[in-house]
Amino acid sequence: MLYRENGQFKTRYGDDQQIFPILQDRWLVMALIAFAFIGVPMLASEYMFRAILIPFVILSLAALGLNLLVGYCGQISLGSGAFMAVGAYIAYNAYTRVPGMPVVGAFLIGGGAALLVGIVFGIPSLRIRGLYLAVATLAAQFFCDWVFARVAWFTNYSASGSVSVPTLTVAGVSLDTPQSKYLFCLTIVTVMALAAKNIVRGHVGRSWMAIRDMDVAATVIGIRPVTAKLSAFAVSSFVIGVAGAMWAFVHLGSWEPLAFDVNRSLNLLFMIIIGGMGSIMGSFFGAAFIVVLPILLNQVPAWLGVPISTAMASHLEFMIFGALIVFFLIVEPHGLARLWSIGKEKLRLWPFPH
């Protein structure tokens, strides 16, 4: 009863095409954004920033990037970790080698490099699909692992193979508190999520979805598979690259190639499966889930008085992840996002049963 569109008539197509056409949705999202930008920095502890909020924000962006490719355009990718690595390492080199390079500039360059690599590694998708494409993306992942470990230029000839960045300064403000880091990431992610949503509701997004759903029909309409697929790889890789740079610079501070290996790729894939493929909001749900679950697994047994070793917790984590993936694929392939919309549908009737 609360959640109804009664009286909300749209008289112009522009109004109908808004991101959140229903008034209640818009209020909710505005409230959430206000809370995220104002409320959270006032309430959250340093631990929460470091362990939950900042990883959640950055990984949501990475998951969103992957979702553009896998969920909207239907091209499977098991190599997203490699794109994060490209973003991180190229951003690192831009930042340390070019005097006066601003942080955001380095991020954009990192994203740009990831975009180019993404296009190259998207070329196999023009000839192969499904399983076979998954193999090609794994090839990309392992190749990039090797490049960043072996080619010393990327790590600035560091002896240990790992690199680090000092405390960042953005527009004169030093990012030395968790709040400042969080707000910085949140701003970037909000802007990019909005841009992604815009792309997805326009003709580019529609051509991606057309290729995903039935590519022969798409070609007959005049959609070029080459353009659609490579643009999906390009935009997706750019977003993932920026997320990778953010992950390295803001969250990790110092890192080595292993931070972006195939486990990270699978991690991102799980986020979008659980969160909902083909849904921007789903990327956030999935990221939240995957970030929070290990922490819960570590804390809850202790609360319940049944302490378990960290090794055991890690095994449990794997088991629960695996079981949940299977569960979601069987029961709700559209993930938490679909459960959310079903919930909203029910809310329209509440408190009446039907």
Binding site: Y13, G14, Q17, N198, M209, R212, V216, I221, G222, I223
Partner: protein
């Protein structure tokens, strides 16, 4: 029958042969299509009718023969080129985009006409939004024409079969085609639905002058609405002419129509 004055030859197919491995789908087929007419292709199942449409729309390339559309050779072409030249089609097995709403499906038909690039799209306000609204208006007119307004936001996978067929047609119409290829548009429909669809086909030809090539099994429909008919059997052409001519052609009767007892 078309109310329009039938024009010159717009599509000329000469000696088209198509084979898949050892299987010959089409053997030495030649016929033409004139502007503004409604041309039917009929024949038993497996005769090669869908393959013929696939050849015309550029999905298959024939091993032999020529396709001349509006005076230009298009034999070695791809679907994108044919779409850009104004050829649109529907599919026998409804190739709709199941993950999108009805409105979005029809909007995909406008893709070739949409010019804004990704960066403009990302920003949305300004050229991208204006273009989107402009094409939305066009698609809404098609939706009105096909009388499917209440379902515009429904995911097409949830619509009944008859409505899905209309969406398929709507998507093709959104391309503003000069040549429209319909692959069994009335398959699986009851009498009323067939009447509706026949009316739509005739209206499209009438209002927009679109040349129509359609594959159809219902002889009543074929005789009623088409100007000329091509008959295929086992990949070969066995009849070509007006509906009356074809109806009395002995080869066609033997292969397909059967004899009245």
């Amino acid at each position: 029958m078309s109310n329009r004055k039938i024009g010159e030859v717009i599509l000329d197919l000469r000696n088209i042969s198509l084979a898949f491995g050892g299987v010959k789908a089409l053997t030495d087929i030649s016929f033409d299509v004139r502007e503004h007419e409604i041309r039917a292709i009929i024949g038993p199942n497996g005769a090669g009718k869908s393959s013929m449409l696939n050849v015309i729309s550029g999905v298959y390339t024939p091993q032999q023969g020529e396709i001349i559309y509006r005076g230009e050779h298009h034999t070695h072409t791809d679907p994108h080129a044919m779409a850009a030249h104004g050829v649109a089609r529907t599919f026998q097995s409804l190739a709709l985009f199941k993950g999108m709403s009805l409105l979005d499906n029809i909007m995909t038909g406008r893709t070739l006409k949409m010019r804004t690039n990704i960066l403009q799209q990302a920003f949305w306000k300004g050229p991208a939004e204006r273009e989107e609204i402009m094409h939305r208006e066009f698609c809404e007119r098609i939706i009105d024409f096909l009388q499917i307004q209440p379902y515009r936001k429904t995911p097409v996978g949830r619509l009944p079969y008859g409505l899905q067929k209309r969406v398929d047609l709507g998507r093709a119409l959104a391309m503003e085609p000069s040549l429209l290829l319909l692959d069994e548009p009335m398959a699986g429909m009851n009498v009323e639905e067939k009447q509706d669809m026949s009316r739509f086909v005739l209206d499209v030809n009438d209002e927009f002058g679109t040349t129509i090539v359609l594959i159809e099994h219902d002889m009543g429909v074929v005789m009623d609405i088409s100007d000329r008919v091509v008959v295929l059997d086992y990949g070969k052409k066995i009849g070509d002419g007006t509906p009356d001519n074809v109806r009395s052609n002995q080869d066609v009767i033997n292969a397909y129509l059967g004899v009245a007892h």
